[in-house]
Every structure is written in structure tokens, then in C-alpha cells.
């Protein structure tokens, strides 16, 4: 039984592979922008679409501040799935 956060981690990993950013070398503290994963707007839009496909909602589209770290994305899906 996985949690929503584990599923979200899987989506991020898949996204990083698809965008040739590598599936390794990141953790919850990794920044999404700049020196971290270095996402630009199109890549962030792609990640948001993948998360929306999986969960029906995503932290980039939910309003409020954009997530800054991988952990912010995971925190958005903090509910344990059953």
C-alpha cells in the first residue's frame, strides 16, 4: 500500500527521466528551480500535467505560491491513500 506522497515521488522520478534530467541525485530538499532541478516554465507545466493526470490536481495549479522544493510538491499530497 503506497501513500499519495510515494506516488508523487514516482511521478517526479518519471518526469525527470523523460526530460533527461536523471532519475537520481535529488531528494525532498532539492530546489525545483535554478541550481536545483533547473525547471523552466515549460518543464514545470509538463510536471504539473503529469501530476494532474495522476491525482486530478497539482500544486502548480492550486493557487497560492508555487512550490519551491520537491518536498513542497510531496507535501501537497500529504493524505495517506487507502
Amino acid at each position: 500500500m503506497g501513500t499519495e506522497q510515494e506516488k508523487a515521488r514516482g511521478v517526479i522520478s518519471e518526469f525527470l527521466q523523460r526530460t533527461d534530467k536523471g532519475a537520481e541525485g535529488w531528494n525532498d530538499e532539492t530546489e525545483l528551480w535554478g541550481e536545483g532541478l533547473g525547471l523552466d516554465s515549460l518543464e514545470a507545466a509538463e510536471l504539473s500535467a503529469m501530476l494532474e493526470d495522476e491525482f486530478g490536481t497539482d500544486p502548480f495549479s492550486a493557487g497560492g505560491d508555487l512550490p519551491e522544493k520537491v518536498g513542497d510538491v510531496l507535501a501537497f499530497y500529504a493524505t495517506v491513500s487507502t
Binding site: A44, A49, M50, D53
Partner: protein
């Protein structure tokens, strides 16, 4: 239409005019029934009416009868939802509905086609060039409410004035007869005194069945219809029959599809028709290449041409165009094809070498973070892959960029057996030289792609 039927019935009364899933009729039988319909319409003082009828044989009887009576028919999608139909019929003020359906209710009177053909004809009724023969055609309208264009059979008939009798031809009706392109096929078949093969439903798999079993020799269809049909044929491992004539229209024809058609049907003449419900039939291309030859465009040395390019958009004039939209008088009509005025088409084009290449509809443009993306060239890259049977590229709303380019893919052999990650990788390579905003950011794998009026739905997803 009635004049063409009269000519065909006089020349070849026993020739099979139409073969449908419900039966067949000769030209003499069709003409006899059309005359009965005309007389019955006159007796009932029906001057305009809606038609909700799937069978092309019945449609021909009703359209030809209406032309003889001078009444204006307007076909609706035969399987249209009853409540949607009631709304649209009210908008167009249709108070008579000719149909065999029992579920249509509203402020209109249902008239059964069989009632009309059961009545005697009126020998005094005759059609002539000085008598209006109105016809209303609703636009396909991939978005929003369809409009309705007012036409006259006498003007539409000009497009087939030079068609010679080809009675051995058997034309597949791949369009709905309620579409402008479907009406063109009806006219062409009647003018050539050939046979219309009209299965219902009219899905590509039904068209393939008809090609394999009913001796079809000529097919007019959209590129999307052809893609589906060829994919179906591959999946069934069907041996396709030789065809004499293939006509593509309604959408741009991609080069890879034209290549495949040439390979599968080496003996067929291939034409691409540029036409619309409003402007009528404008031009056709017979050289088998995508797009239109630049040399056919209007300029000072080619003043009679009716196609030109202005600011990246195709403009047209003349053609057997409409008289106006429903609700407009002739004087109010702003897009009449008879006026000779130049009109925008909404088709975006680019001149590449000696060809005018279609880039998509204005309404299909996707705005990705301020970058205007045309889905068609992206789709062409994807459908050119051997692993892809069908593809649809469209805009998907996104909070960050306004929209992203999305693609739905039908893999060859179906989703279940496909190596989707490999296909993703192939797509990525195929679009790598396009600007980044043009590259699909959402790729999903599906078993079927939705179409409307035989056309792929692009543009922004709602």
C-alpha cells in the same frame, strides 16, 4: 439535384442509384419517389423542413423531392440527441421534421417519409432553371453551435456541370449527407449517373467493409477518415481493392498519408479538394503533393484565380457558394460566394518553395506562454512514425503557461501491446527540431481518437 436525377433516370432508368444498409433503388425508382415527395410537400404546404434520417436512399428521395417542390430541406445529424435537436430546430425555426425517429419532441410536427412516398405524384410539377431550389446546410462546426448556410441546388449544380456519365463507378459515401462534402458526393454521383454505396453507420470500419464487399471504385473522404480506414485495414490484414478515384477534403492532407495512399492504391487518381460549406468548392489539386501550387494563386498574371494568400491566411472568392446564413436576407449576406468578393477562410498557410502549405485553422492555434503553436505540423511529425497509427495534437489548459501542447496517440497494434516508452522517445526525437513550446508536454496513449464530421478535433481542449 432533381434535374440530375431526371437526366440519369432518362438515360439509365434501371441503373442502381443507391445501395444502403436498408436496400437499394434504381434511378427510375428514386425519381418516382422524389416526385411523390414533391407533390406531398406541396399538398401539405411545407416550404421548409428539417430532415433527421440516416439512410442515404431516403435522404436522396427527400432532397430531390424538395428541390422539385421548391421547398428548403435542412439535414441534421441523424443520431443527434433529441433535446439538442429540439434546441437547434427552434433556433432555425423548423416546424416540420421529416424523420422515422419516434423520440423527437418539440414545437414541430413529425412527418414520416413513407407517408409522402405513398401519395401520388403531380404531373404538373416541373423543375426549371428559373425556379428556386433551396437547400440549407448546417456547418460542421467543431466548436460551438453550428451555423446554417442557405444554398440553391442550381448554383451547387454548376460544380458538376462538366461531369461526364461514368455509370460503372461506385462511390462510397464516407461523409454524412448532411455535410457540404456529402452533398457534393451526392451531386457528383447523380451527375455521373453512377452508384452511391452508403453504409450506415459511416465509420471508417464501415467504409472499409463496403470497400471490401460492395465493389466500391471511388472514395471521397477526409484525411482523418483515411487514416482510420488504413489503420483498420492494417489491423485486419485486409487486402484492399484497387480504386479508380480517391478524393480528399475537409482538412489538410499530410505528405505521409498521400504517400501511403499512393502506395496502397497505385492505380487511383488522387484529388485534394478545397471547399467549405460557406464558400462552396473552390479549387482542387491533382498532382498528389500536399498543399496548393503557388502558380495557381491570384496575382496580376493570374487574375482569374480565386485563391490568394494574405498575411499567412488563405483568402478565396467565387465558387458555388452560399446565398447567406440562415436568418439573413440576400442583401445582408456577408460571405456569399456569388459576390466575387475576397473572403478570409480562417485557414493558416505558409508558402514553402512552390507550394502553399496548410498549417491549421486560426481557431486551432494554441497559445503556449505567448508562443503561437499550430497543431497540424506537430501532428504530421508524429503520424509520420511507423509505430503510430493515429494522432491528435491539441491544446491543454495549464496554469503556468496558459496552455501546453498535448497529444493523443493510437499506437499501431493498439495500446495493450505497444511499447509506449519507446514511442514516447520516438515522438521526442521527431519533434526535437521544433521550437520548445511546440513540443508536446502531455502524451497519452488511447485506443481511439474522437472526431467530428470526419475531422480531427484540434485547438484548445475545453
Amino acid at each position: 439535384m432533381i434535374l440530375l436525377l431526371e437526366a440519369a433516370a432518362a438515360s439509365s432508368p434501371e441503373r442502381q442509384a443507391v445501395a444502403t444498409s436498408e436496400g437499394s433503388a434504381t434511378y427510375a425508382e428514386l425519381l418516382d419517389d422524389a416526385r411523390r415527395v414533391a407533390a406531398a410537400l406541396r399538398r401539405r404546404r411545407i416550404t421548409r423542413f428539417a430532415v433527421v434520417e440516416p439512410d442515404a436512399g431516403w435522404v436522396l428521395r427527400l432532397l430531390a423531392g424538395a428541390a422539385l417542390a421548391g421547398a428548403e430541406p435542412c439535414q441534421y445529424q441523424p443520431d443527434t440527441d433529441a433535446s439538442e435537436f429540439a434546441d437547434h430546430a427552434a433556433l432555425l425555426d423548423h416546424t416540420f421534421v421529416l424523420t422515422r425517429r419516434d423520440d423527437l419532441t418539440g414545437p414541430f410536427k413529425l412527418v414520416r417519409p413513407a407517408e409522402l412516398v405513398a401519395e401520388p405524384a403531380d404531373g404538373a410539377l416541373a423543375a426549371g432553371d428559373d425556379t428556386p431550389q433551396p437547400l440549407m446546410i448546417r456547418t460542421t462546426g467543431t466548436t460551438g453551435l453550428p451555423k446554417a448556410a442557405r444554398h440553391d441546388w442550381r448554383i451547387l449544380g454548376k460544380t458538376v456541370a462538366n461531369v461526364r456519365p461514368m455509370p460503372e463507378q461506385r462511390w462510397l459515401l464516407a461523409y454524412g449527407p448532411q455535410q457540404f462534402a456529402g452533398v457534393q458526393v451526392l451531386l457528383h454521383v447523380a451527375a455521373s449517373q453512377a452508384t452511391l454505396v452508403a453504409p450506415f453507420p459511416r465509420q471508417p470500419k464501415d467504409g472499409l467493409d463496403a470497400m471490401l464487399t460492395q465493389g466500391v471504385t471511388c472514395v471521397s473522404a477526409t484525411p482523418t477518415f483515411w487514416r482510420f480506414l488504413l489503420a483498420e485495414a492494417r489491423s485486419r490484414k485486409a487486402t484492399l481493392p484497387a480504386l479508380e478515384q480517391i478524393t480528399l477534403g475537409g482538412e489538410a492532407s499530410p505528405a505521409d498519408l498521400l504517400d501511403e495512399i499512393r502506395t496502397k492504391f497505385p492505380d487511383a487518381k488522387v484529388s485534394q479538394v478545397y471547399a467549405s460549406t460557406e464558400f462552396g468548392s473552390i479549387t482542387s489539386v491533382r498532382d498528389g503533393k500536399p498543399g496548393i501550387a503557388v502558380e495557381t494563386l491570384y496575382d496580376e498574371t493570374n487574375p482569374h484565380a480565386n485563391v490568394r494568400v494574405d498575411d499567412g491566411e488563405l483568402w478565396v472568392r467565387a465558387g458555388a457558394g452560399m446565398l447567406g446564413y440562415a436568418g439573413e436576407s440576400g442583401a445582408e449576406s456577408s460571405e456569399s460566394g456569388e459576390s466575387g468578393e475576397w473572403r478570409r477562410t480562417g485557414d493558416l498557410v505558409e508558402i514553402v518553395g512552390d507550394r502553399v502549405m496548410f498549417r491549421g485553422r486560426k481557431s486551432e492555434v494554441i497559445n503556449v506562454g505567448g508562443v503561437k503553436v499550430h497543431p497540424l505540423p506537430v501532428e504530421d511529425r508524429i503520424t509520420g512514425l511507423d509505430s503510430v497509427a493515429l494522432a491528435r495534437v491539441f491544446g491543454r489548459p495549464n496554469k503556468l503557461t496558459g496552455a501546453i501542447v498535448a497529444a493523443e496517440i493510437v499506437p499501431v497494434g493498439g495500446v495493450e501491446d505497444a511499447d509506449v516508452e519507446n514511442i514516447r522517445s520516438q515522438i521526442k526525437t521527431a519533434v526535437a527540431d521544433l521550437p520548445r513550446a511546440w513540443q508536446p508536454r502531455s502524451v497519452t496513449f488511447v485506443d481511439a481518437i474522437e472526431t467530428k464530421g470526419g475531422k480531427t478535433i484540434r485547438g484548445m481542449e475545453e
